[in-house]
Point group: C2
Chain length 187, copies 2
Amino acid sequence: MTTRPRDSAATRAALLDAAAVLFAERGFDRTTVRDIAGRAGVNQALLFRYFGSKEALFATVMARQSHELLAESPAERALARVLERMLDEEGPRLHDHPLHAALRSVSHDGAAAAIRQRMGDEYAEVLSSLTDAEDADVRADLVLAWLLGIGLLRSVLAKEPLASADPERVSEHVLRAVQVLLERSER
Amino acid sequence: MTTRPRDSAATRAALLDAAAVLFAERGFDRTTVRDIAGRAGVNQALLFRYFGSKEALFATVMARQSHELLAESPAERALARVLERMLDEEGPRLHDHPLHAALRSVSHDGAAAAIRQRMGDEYAEVLSSLTDAEDADVRADLVLAWLLGIGLLRSVLAKEPLASADPERVSEHVLRAVQVLLERSER
DNA sequence: CGCGCATGTAAGCGTGTGCTTACATGACTC
DNA sequence: GAGTCATGTAAGCACACGCTTACATGCGCG
């Protein structure tokens, strides 16, 4: 039978896209290299030619997420924007979001590290700048925990009614409650 | 070499305990029947003699958690008690908590179902009784999401500073913020 | 047009896994 | 003491997995 036309950049991108979707749907352990190669339409040997190992491919998928959520937003708006993006179900992002892959792969050291690094250190720093309370970092972590919990319950576990709740309503509730934590003293 | 003295009840309990600990530490996929049998100190064949399959053993572990968290507490205290238990790190419960096993196994259908059933329907019902708002069920789910997120970030991912934060402080913050969601109208 | 290399595939390897089967033996009953 | 059954182990099976290797061939260059 005919082999696929040669285009290494396209092959690499196809493998990455296939991996992103399948890791988000099934997690690291339940996704096989045969699954990824099959979805990309190539032979599994190419996965090893381009990425070296399944682990390395997973690490590349985890590193793909843009940092635009935190870029160029005043800290006050950062949380609202993060929530908007998390709750926004339009477009293909829902199905290949690295957060889903990470939440589904939480026993995998790399996934756990990705959550700590990505949602952890980067976001918590911004969040803790929103309050002048002494334990700002603990409060920031609590907000972060809530974001992770919402991601888990709504998108990964798809529990109703949260799964189909109006994103604006959810945002409103969360932002209002979080104000209690990320308060600033009067001055 | 000598074989183990015969005691089927003890063997079964040893397998269950070993499974609970290892599923909580590593998740379903990363725990093997050889691991469980080894920790229980028996031959792996006995796992199949007593439980039928690895899947069935996992289901039994998921079903073990007592319902005492919700029993006999007025709804107003339920959330505080749940938080107390989640944040309490003393004793062996931390290391074999089915919630940890479930969070680490979230791609496993049984684990996802266990979270929805256990933390979901049972707790959300109690939580939604705490408010007379029209969307009480969505608010309850948001509170539940936060509990799951705290469990994930503090116990499974062990992210500092939340991992070592004072449980009373954490409870206080969460309960205060949650009051904004689970409010009752004046009357 | 021939050569060489990049890109692709087929086939297979070694290991680990869940599970089964045949056998051993401890314990209890008659 | 013999027989039976429950409980335990050793050994192995079939399959799936991540990964490697040998080979095929498309494409670009001189």
